[in-house]
């Protein structure tokens, strides 16, 4: 008996048998015998005219019967016949590359007024492809979504509890350009939840510490930092350059500011907030398929709560892991807004209660009386949000002060102090009390000349500029040892050294 080897795809027609024994004769006889014994094989081996199909190859030994005597090729007792399916195919004939399927391709909800337009996709380097491989292989996400991430520009307002996970995940995900706004410096009490930072960064500006951490995480992205307090004067200019805003602020004035600026500029605003054991997430002002913007923060809360009713995290506390959870959800929504993959939380408001592990999602709608984009908007530009909310966005602690008499006592008692004069050089030339001259405009640049381990008394002519210098140094560098000379050099002259020149 000769042997026929059945190819894997056809074995389901031969009771899963790979090798069949057939009588000797010709190849034609062999095929006849097979199709009689296994009728389902027939349509796979023979065409309507009874000829062997063009995509079926029959080999006798190692030779194609087309090179022998075709169907008349002899089959002997020891012949091994292989049925070999032709394996072929190819891409569609048209030469136009179409975009990948499976990804809902809606463009980033870009502002009509933004002028950003569509940015050309930058090709990925081999390193980036390797880095983002686990994204690229997700069905329905793939390269197309990864390209959108790379082209995207996201502004993260606040780099604290929420900003930490948002920034880490957005940077890791490959968002091409990330802006970070924060005026604060890293404090030891931040480390309970702000996982971007470590003890080495205490006292350093958060945006700088964040940039170092994120650069170490992903060298293939662009980071822009704004070491400033976002306010009505700078918000539009900063936000204008971005496609998506992630609001991780901890106070109402900044939250309304970010909301209003996002609406005025037509940017989607991915919102999250946390308090004690509860977190909230939503996507505001997201332009859906119908072209209309979704609800914004003012549709949910037209006006802020009365001052003092809702305490801040600094006053009310927050469970450290909560911003990790909620910030991660916020990062997720940013990625969905950018890529168009999935359904965003636009028009919905998500609440998570960590204590009993319950979450709820409410539907929210636009309000006709929304003051910024309702039927009759009354807000057409940014307003004074601190006044609007009846509170300050930054809680100011009182400055430490020292009187001229106390300063004199410290000096005569030999106490180790550093004396800094923040006036201008021409003033210093008129009169000085032996202080180091660092004019106000240059204090930040000369912060390294200022001691951190002993009392530092800062003065100017009357006490105003030195107070500003201290605020700046405390905010940007975390100084805790600065004293403002009350009444400035004029008070010192009056009380301690009346022989000096007054001006």
């Amino acid at each position: 008996m000769a042997t026929v080897i059945i190819p894997t795809p056809l074995r389901k027609f031969t009771n899963n048998t790979a090798r069949l024994q057939v009588s000797a004769g010709t190849v034609h006889d062999t095929v006849q015998e097979l199709t009689v014994n296994f009728p389902d094989l027939k349509k796979h081996l023979l065409d309507e005219g009874g000829n062997i199909r063009s995509y079926v190859n029959i080999f006798v030994g190692n030779d194609d019967i087309r090179d022998l005597q075709q169907g008349l090729t002899a089959v002997k007792e020891d012949t091994v016949i292989s049925i070999v399916p032709a394996i072929a195919g190819g891409a569609p004939a048209d030469s136009t590359a179409s975009s990948g399927n499976g990804v809902r391709g809606s463009d980033i909800n870009s502002a009509p007024a933004s002028g950003n337009g569509a940015r050309a996709a930058q090709p990925f380097t081999k390193e980036e492809l390797a880095r983002y491989n686990r994204h690229i292989i997700i069905p329905g996400f793939g390269m197309e979504a990864q390209q959108k991430l790379k082209a995207a520009r996201v502004l993260v307002v606040g780099s604290g509890g929420l900003g930490s996970p948002v920034l880490l995940y957005l940077a890791a995900a490959g968002v091409g350009t990330i802006g970070i706004v924060d005026f604060d410096v890293v404090d030891d009490s931040n480390l309970q939840r702000q996982v971007l930072f470590g003890v080495d960064e205490i006292g350093k500006p958060k945006v700088e510490a964040a940039r170092r951490r994120l650069e170490a995480l992903n060298p293939y992205i662009q980071l822009n930092i704004y070491n400033t307090h976002l306010n009505s004067q700078n918000a539009l200019d900063i936000i204008r350059d971005y496609d998506v805003i992630a609001d991780g602020t901890d106070n109402f004035p900044t939250r309304y500011l970010v909301n209003d600026a996002s609406v005025l500029l037509g940017k989607p605003n991915v919102y999250a907030s946390i308090f004690q054991f509860e977190g909230q997430v939503s996507v505001f002002n997201y332009r859906g398929a119908d072209g209309n913007p979704g609800p914004n923060y003012r549709d949910l809360y037209p006006t802020p709560p009365p001052p003092g009713l809702v305490p801040s995290c600094a006053e009310g506390g927050v469970l450290g892991v909560l911003p990790g959870i909620i910030g991660s959800l916020q990062a997720l929504e940013v990625i969905k807004v950018i890529t168009g993959v999935g359904e965003t939380l636009s028009g919905r408001f998500y609440i998570f209660d960590a204590l009993n592990f319950e979450s709820k999602t409410f539907n929210i709608k636009r309000r006709q009386d929304n003051p910024i984009n309702g039927d009759h908007p009354t807000i057409t530009g940014l307003i004074d949000y601190e006044q609007f909310c009846g509170m300050r966005a930054i809680e100011e602690s009182p400055l430490k002060e020292v009187t001229a008499r106390e300063l004199y006592d410290w000096q005569v008692n030999g106490e180790k102090i550093q004396l800094i004069d923040v006036r201008e050089p021409h003033e210093y030339d008129i009169v000085n009390i032996g202080a180091e001259l660092i004019p106000l405009a240059t204090v930040a640049a000369n912060a390294d000349r200022i001691d951190t381990d002993k009392k530092v008394v800062v003065h100017c002519k009357m006490g105003g500029r030195s107070a500003k210098a201290i605020r700046e140094l405390e905010e940007k560098f975390g100084f805790k040892n600065l004293y403002n000379l009350k009444g400035g050099i004029l008070a010192y002259i009056d009380e301690v050294q009346p022989e000096l020149t007054k001006y």
Binding site: I5, P7, T8, P9, L10, R11, K12, A18, H44, Y55, N57, F59, N62, D64, S82, V84, P85, A86, I87, A88, G89, G90, A91, P92, A93, A97, S98, S99, G100, N101, G102, A121, P123, F124, K126, L129, I136, I137, P139, G142, M143, E144, Q146, Q147
Partner: protein
Amino acid sequence: MIIIEPHIRQLLTEDAVNTFPDECCGFLFGREETDGTRVIVDILVVDNSKAGDKTRRFEISPADYMVAEQHALDHDWSLLGIYHSHPRHPAIPSEHDRIAAQPYFSYLIVSVMENESITMRSWLLNEVQQFEEEKIADYQFS
């Protein structure tokens, strides 16, 4: 459902990228679970023997096919399918693919875009000689 182990994905990606802009091709080996789930554990890379334009066509020589069947026998695996790439085209079977397709085989298509972006989709012929998508699952989540 078809499960492609991570190192197999890597091999498929490398072949598709290295062969770009031509189409690459090869065989998929593994086992079939009782519920029909296919687990791909090995591949055999073969030459695209198409004479002429290999950027939009592939062909596997009968000799390579026979090697593949033997490879499956040698390892006690099943020959479960064919993979090939679609340079600059999505991972959707073309009419050329459909006409030449064999029953039973999984047809895994690796789309490679100009920027080396990779998408994989798998397809199975149904009773009326049309392709139906076969869901690709990851072997594990981590």
